[in-house]
Amino acid sequence: MRRSILTAAALTATLALTACSGGAEEPAGEESSAPDGAGATLTVWVDETRQAAVEDAATGFEEATGAQVEVVLKNFEDIRPDFLAQVPTGKGPDITVGAHDWLGELTTNGVVAPIELGDTADAFEPVSVAAFTQDGQVYGLPYAVENIALIRNTELAPEAPATWDDAIAAGEEAGTRYPLLIQTSTEGDPYTYYPLQTSFGAPVFEQNEDGSYTPELALGGEGGTAFAQWLAEQAEAGTLSTDVTYDVAVAAFAKGESPFIVGGPWMLEQFADVDVAIDPIPSAGGEPAQPFVGVAGFYVSAQSENALLANDFLVNHMATPEAQLALYEAGDRPPALLEAADTASEDPVTAGFREVGADAVPMPSLPEMGAVWAYWGVTEAAIISGKSEPEAAWQKMVDDIQGEIG
């Protein structure tokens, strides 16, 4: 499970050093009396990408407290249902990695405990803490922020487009097979299309003043209808198509068949041969095009018998630039901790995504979101494929979601 002793030792040393030089409010008071927490074992669920980084931080934690950390590898898709099912039985982990949009479900089922970040909260990207906040309480320690942006092939398009129409014009000028690539598929892809939708002023839910969502649908109305009609127009003009799946879009961009693709950092690995720049997503409806932000973080189980250790581990050992940078190296998403994010932003691509993310909105974590996903994508796909009349289909979607939410 553990990596070689040498790397572990090296990392332990660095971590111990950082623990000593320390966060602003944590003088290293206990270090002298520390290594005697033996007996307590902290169980942490991680997925494969995160495993090494968490294990490294755990080594430092073990060193500092004497407690054991057991890092359990799980499939990311299994974590959420297993956490929900096992925490009530007392067999769940103390800590798990997770995405912020699980929050609504986790709190309704009472399986997560709040984390008090204290003054550390200011050290994080505001949007990342906001994403893990519900009703004024923070439930997760964020470590990475991810969002989509416009990825541009700098050879084919030297300048960032200001609007959607500019982008299409530039794409047509470039003379490539596709003017712009946006993954759609027959099921639709409302996540990737969301910035375009917000540019028509049709966010999915109403937002409170503090940025949190209320379960009041907002995607209907004039903005929504205008977006639906725009989808139909663009599809007719041939710029949007349900034939373009994720794989098709990524392969085409990698081959230089389009100057633009709307996508996230997870695509970059396949664009190693292309010179890319990251731009904001061009607005189609006039208003700012705000994509969703997804925040990855750690949750503490509500039934943890080691709540103290768990919070100590997260707040004092995972909220360090070293740990966050290690997670960044492993997952390629901009870190949530500002200090780590600044270091990571030396890479212009990461900086680009981060900049777009600063204006983005958190993906709603309300349990009602499940019902929205169920109808949203297929409706968009039906409009784009010309199967449905835009206005009526959009209205029916809103009604169906409303019916499901009740």
Binding site: D36, G37, E116, Q137, E187, D243
Partner: protein
């Protein structure tokens, strides 16, 4: 107890056979005792009782001379109990509860969750360096205030300034009247520490100091309090009182409920919901019909193709039969879910092999047109299923009694007549039970539908996320929110699976009765 008895030649009590038995039973006992201890450790009393009972029965069965049949059927019986009876009974139990989102755990845990979710840090309150201290057995906190004064208190005694404390590195390291706890001691009592609330003053509205990491204290106030005596929750800001209702939630007089609930028995509510939601009425009928059509057509098509190939390859005049047979069985060797996934790629309208290569760039919507999607599902299932039918038909054909066939020949029956009156009926005697089980399997063939079409294309006229190729079991998956499109409801899912079980069991039972008439021919 076992008493070694000599009976017959060479059968002494300590024969090699007995020693082997002793060793095996000892092994089983060792495993059983391990399981009992593990169950004890995990405080799972149900598992513990079941294990003890199984162990006792096993030891009794293998050391008594009176239970010969039991010696043979006990292992099977034990596994049947654990893997079938228990699972079925548990599903039956869940069907009568409201287990699902919002009702995920026990009342005790729900109360705990509600209480922690409704604690708020007092706005603008400082984060103070904190030390866990003890006065006798009682735990307390000592915090260093902004002005450097040391204040300490316990759950019963509000914070008060204590003089003469030693502060090192901004943190209290010694305090008159209290013992400072070492980190290990804190860890040993971590649940007490995280549960400890030290009031700031005599006025509860000022809030109390809590800590999550035993290093930093924050002042919190609770907006919700629980009174165990009257079993009520009270919102201290609004003054509303919530009492537990029959659905496993705290409910106020005006009907509003608190978000976290717990599991309760709800009687037949799930069955009523299953058939009560009129949004599902239309799609349900279509899906029911399609499920029957899918299961029947799948059995019929795979059986006919398998039978045809079996007859063809059973002809001694055909050369290279072994090679053909091996090739034909190949689809059977590929896992079903993988094959379905491969097919869904191959049938893609624009980039699938079928349209691109085989049909020269046609764009036929194999999986997105309602009728074609149904045909595709049947086609893929035919591809997946015929090798099985081919195997059992080949086996049955080869075991047909040749004398009967010869007698028919002598009686002057033609080829068709022999096949109709002798081969087919005899074949059906052997294969009918397998056809019925194949029907039951396809009736619940969730993997194929989920992997190939995901139930799509969607019904245009329905207001629920269901599609033209959804079968009952994939509908259950969606209706009960297990696919994430709605709040998860395991109670509803269990209730619907029971309904499906009743349908399949009825059809199978009827079919088995019919097959008895076939046996009379044999």
């Amino acid at each position: 107890m076992y008493q070694p008895v000599t009976r017959g030649a060479g059968r002494t009590g300590w024969s090699p056979g007995f020693l082997v038995k002793l060793a095996l039973v000892a092994l089983v006992d060792a495993l059983g005792v391990y399981a009992v201890l593990a169950a004890w450790g995990a405080r799972s009393w149900g598992v513990l009782t079941a294990m003890v009972a199984l162990l006792l029965v096993a030891n009794w069965a293998y050391f008594t001379r009176r239970a010969l049949p039991l010696k043979y059927i006990l292992p099977g019986l034990a596994f049947l109990l654990v893997y079938q009876v228990y699972v079925v009974a548990y599903t039956g139990y869940v069907a009568f509860t409201n287990y699902g989102d919002g009702h995920n755990s026990t009342k005790e845990q729900a109360i705990e969750a509600l209480l922690v979710q409704n604690e708020r840090r007092v706005e603008g309150s400082p984060s103070s360096p904190l030390t866990v201290v003890a006065r006798g057995e009682e735990l307390g906190f000592a915090v260093v205030a902004d002005d450097g004064a040391v204040r300490a208190g316990t759950a019963d005694q509000p914070l008060e300034t204590v003089d003469g404390a030693r502060v090192e590195g901004g943190r209290v390291t010694a305090l008159p009247g209290y013992d400072v706890l070492e980190y290990a001691a804190v860890l040993e009592r971590q649940q007490e520490v995280t549960a400890l609330r030290v009031p700031v003053s005599d006025d509860p509205a000022d809030g109390s100091v809590r800590t999550q990491d035993a290093r930093t204290g924050y002042v919190f106030t609770s907006t919700l309090t629980y009174d165990a005596a009257s079993d009520t929750m009270t919102d201290t800001v609004e003054g509303t009182t919530y009492t537990p209702n029959d659905e496993g939630r705290f409910e106020a007089a005006d009907g509003t409920t608190l978000p976290v609930g717990w599991r309760v028995l709800v009687g037949f509510d799930n069955f009523v919901t299953a058939f009560g939601d009129d949004r599902y009425a239309g799609p349900f009928l279509k899906i029911l019909l399609w499920t029957f059509a899918f299961a029947l057509l799948s059995v019929a098509s795979t059986f006919l193709l398998g039978l045809f190939l079996a007859i063809a390859f059973n002809d001694a005049r055909l050369r290279g039969r072994r090679v053909y047979r091996t090739l034909v069985i190949l689809p059977y060797a590929i896992p079903g879910f993988l094959a379905a996934l491969l097919w869904s790629g191959m049938l893609n309208r624009s980039y699938g092999v079928v349209n691109e290569v085989l049909l020269g760039g046609a764009s036929i919507p194999w999986l997105t047109d309602p009728l074609l999607a149904k045909l595709s599902v049947l086609g893929v299932n035919l591809w997946l299923g015929f090798p099985y039918m081919f195997l059992i038909c080949t086996g049955a054909l080869q075991s047909l009694p040749t004398d009967v066939l010869e007698a028919a020949k002598i009686d002057g029956a033609g080829r068709w007549r022999t096949w109709r009156s002798i081969t087919l009926p005899l074949l059906l005697v052997a294969t009918a039970p397998l056809l019925i089980s194949s029907f039951a399997f396809n009736f619940n063939n969730f993997t194929l539908i989920y992997m190939l079409t995901g139930g799509g294309p969607r019904f245009d006229d329905a207001s629920v996320p269901l599609g033209h190729t959804d079968i009952l079991i994939s509908m259950v998956y969606s209706v009960s929110g297990l696919d994430g499109t709605a709040a998860k409801d395991y109670g509803l899912a269990s209730a619907l699976s029971i309904v499906i079980f009743v349908v399949v069991a009825t059809v199978s039972a009827l079919a088995f009765r019919r097959t008895r008439s076939l046996e009379e021919i044999a």
